[in-house]
Amino acid sequence: MNPSPQPNDCPLSPLIARYASCTLEDAQAAHLDAHLPECNQCSELLMQVIDSGVVPNWIPTVRKLQRATTVHLGQAAEQAAGALTASAKYSEITKDLDASTRYQLVRLHGEGGMGQVWEGWDTVLKRRVALKQLPAGQQHDKLIHRLHQEASSLARLSHPHIVSVFEIVVLAEKRTIVMEYIDGPTLSRFRKDFVMGERQAAQILEKLASAVSHAHEQGVIHRDLKPANVLLCWKDHAGGATQDLDQAIPKLTDFGLARIVEEDYMTRTGDILGTPAYMAPEQTVGQANLVGPGADIYGLGAILYELLVGTPPHVSDDPVATLIAVREREPLAPRAIRAELSRDIETICLKCLRKLPKDRYARAADLQSDLLAFLDGRPIAARPLSSLVLAMRWSRRHKPVVLAAFTSLALFLIIIVGSLWTAATERKLRQLADQAKQQAVLSEQKIAAEADRANRALALNQEHFDVALYQVLTLAQLMAWPQFSGQEPKQEDYHRKIDEVVKKICATYLNSLPPPEQWTLREALIVSRYIEMMNGLGQPDQFVVWQERLESIVHRIEQESPKDPSLYDFLDRHNFVLWNHKANIGQFQLSGHYGEKSANAVLSRLEFYPDDMYQLRRCAYLFMIAGQSYSRAGDHANAQRVANKSLSVHRQLLSKAEATEDDKVSFLDKLIMHRQIFVDGKHTEANEHVAEFHSLASQFEPSSEFYGRVQGIVQRFDAIQGPP
């Protein structure tokens, strides 16, 4: 098999390897061309070299391109096809096509965008078949070759809920798909006569999802899922009278056809072909290469939607309007139309219908398992959209506005909105929407539309409060942005508008609160944020009123609430505000007390997330400022105690891998404050850290970016008159 290499004494033999890889100079190559037929030694060597895998460097690229043409129906198959298709196999294909006289057209069943559907007879196998004749298009070699390829991948699909494709032939000069014959109605026709329960809808969808999942595994994307492409059949009835939906076997048809027809059609007209009401948003832009499995997930969602509520998610007489709606508008929630539907089935349905493919179920199998979970009464994996997600969605559409104007204040609003929704009443909500409408003088049309959406959302039910309130907040932003006059908004205008709306919303919210005795952590958190804001805005009267109410219940909240991070967040913010407030009014002892409580809350929070660098920094900082307050109150014992705590937390911080140079510098800062506190208390420990300070400070070389800052700190440190 592998004889030991013959001694090759031909002078041209060293050129063979380069000959095989096409790297020889032209003249030499021509020489070898002439030489090879005459020299057995060199011919032998050439074969060995080629068999050992020596090829021109471009061969792997061509192999890859060629494979790409045969792998997926849905992927850019034609990229390399042109050069590589027509081949010896071509004659076999045409031979097959001639044999297609075996099929007889019996009866026309229907006609649609995808061509005519016939009942047919297979004279060879003596059975009924369905014949789908595609519209006559360009019948050139390349297309026929591709059809042949596609037929082979369609024929690979074998699934109880997919109509089998046998082959593609040319019949009466039209490309014709020969398929399994199903005797039963389409789902779209059937649905018109029956009211479907959510369980029945889920059962059918689960089967369709499993079919789609199978196809996707085989690399086939349907691209035109809709009720008209689902056939129903029954095991023992040939479409008989007792069509019990629970026994129905749904079968998906027309897999991959959309692609064949669409490409041919688009080549000729440049138009998009399909059924707008069921198209995924990414299909509406006419970029075939962007359409992936996600489009089928959307299609399944659209079918489910129609089974649940009776219409597709977006529907309009005008196909262009439908396309725009598909691309830009959120579908009305199914439960807004049929209130008796369960929340889970609605969530599943809406998850399929998200605008971005990545937000939908990643795989048809995931949809299937959620449907099974729903049918079994287990929890589903999909979650309803939160108001934060809605906010992000909005901001994606209005990027410039948001980027220019999304202030921390607006974020604060979103936080409130996110946490509010269970607490509000519908009446108040309506007021809000009305107020917003009255203010909408700037760009009435657009804003009126937003307000209208708010109104509609709140009409659905109280659960949609967040959505409605969210819409109201967008009004504030739109009002501050006179985009219709083409002017840039002034920063002040923007802040003023936001400020107005914040105050209104807060007022509405606070007025709707029950007496403090009934507050839970949720209310306490929002009130504490509000207080902090009022403090920042310099509104002492509001501050004091709400602070007192909050103060009256802090102890109870602390006792009642589960000991989790959100409780400690609350205690941190609450006590921190009080530290600030008491220091401002000269009550330093109390200020120190609250500062220490705030620090302790952060310390408790750190037990949950020990590596939270931000909280570690905050904790060290809070202990030190509490120490400064105690110190000013003359309570030196407490001041020294918490100052030591601050240092120890900060040392912990420095021991972390994520600690930065900045953390070191701020440790030097803390050492100054610490020394001052101990010097004020006339305590000898004040000198204990002097050596450490200088050794740490000397680590900063003049080349360091912190050098200047550290020098300043050293000067301040040295200026403190220490005890002898």
């Binding site: 074969m47 021109p56 471009w58 061969i59 061509v62 075939a288 980027l403």
Partner: protein, 191 residues
Amino acid sequence: MSVQFDTPLSLLERVKDGDEEAWKAFAQKYTGVLQQWCKVWSISQVDSEDVIQDALLAVLIGIPKFERQRVGSFRRWIKTIARNCWSDAVSRSERLKYLDLKRTLQSPAACHELEEQFDRIAVEELLQASLKRVRRRVEERTWEAFRLTALEEQSAAKVAELLNMRVDAIYAARCRVQKLISDEFKQLDQD
């Protein structure tokens, strides 16, 4: 929907002449590359749509300018276009102003990667055109000998039987076609 062009240059020629179909084919091809590239550089889906649109526009504007300057290799030329149009697009883009991406997009590593991507496509296109041209010039059996052994990696003995040729003739045919394609490739690149 794709339209086959005989050479990549003729595609660009037609883009330059404002042929809409050529432009579509061009945009479709390069959108894929740019998407891949954006993914590598962690640009979000939404941003990358903007980026790609700007880059393609820059190419459209830039092509006539560069056509006049082209000397020699098509591959080198398309890389130059990629680099220059790209930095043009990035510096002019209004949208990119809002995104903190400029530095990433203009970093040498990113530009190099982009050039490589464009080169990869240029190579693929030149190869396809070369294959197509050679295919037209050689005899059916010669072509099949090459295709089945070199591309489908079937054994020479089996192919010899299928095509009713001698084994050594199969090797010779394969080598001849390879050589023709290599030459055609060089020729097209230099044209």
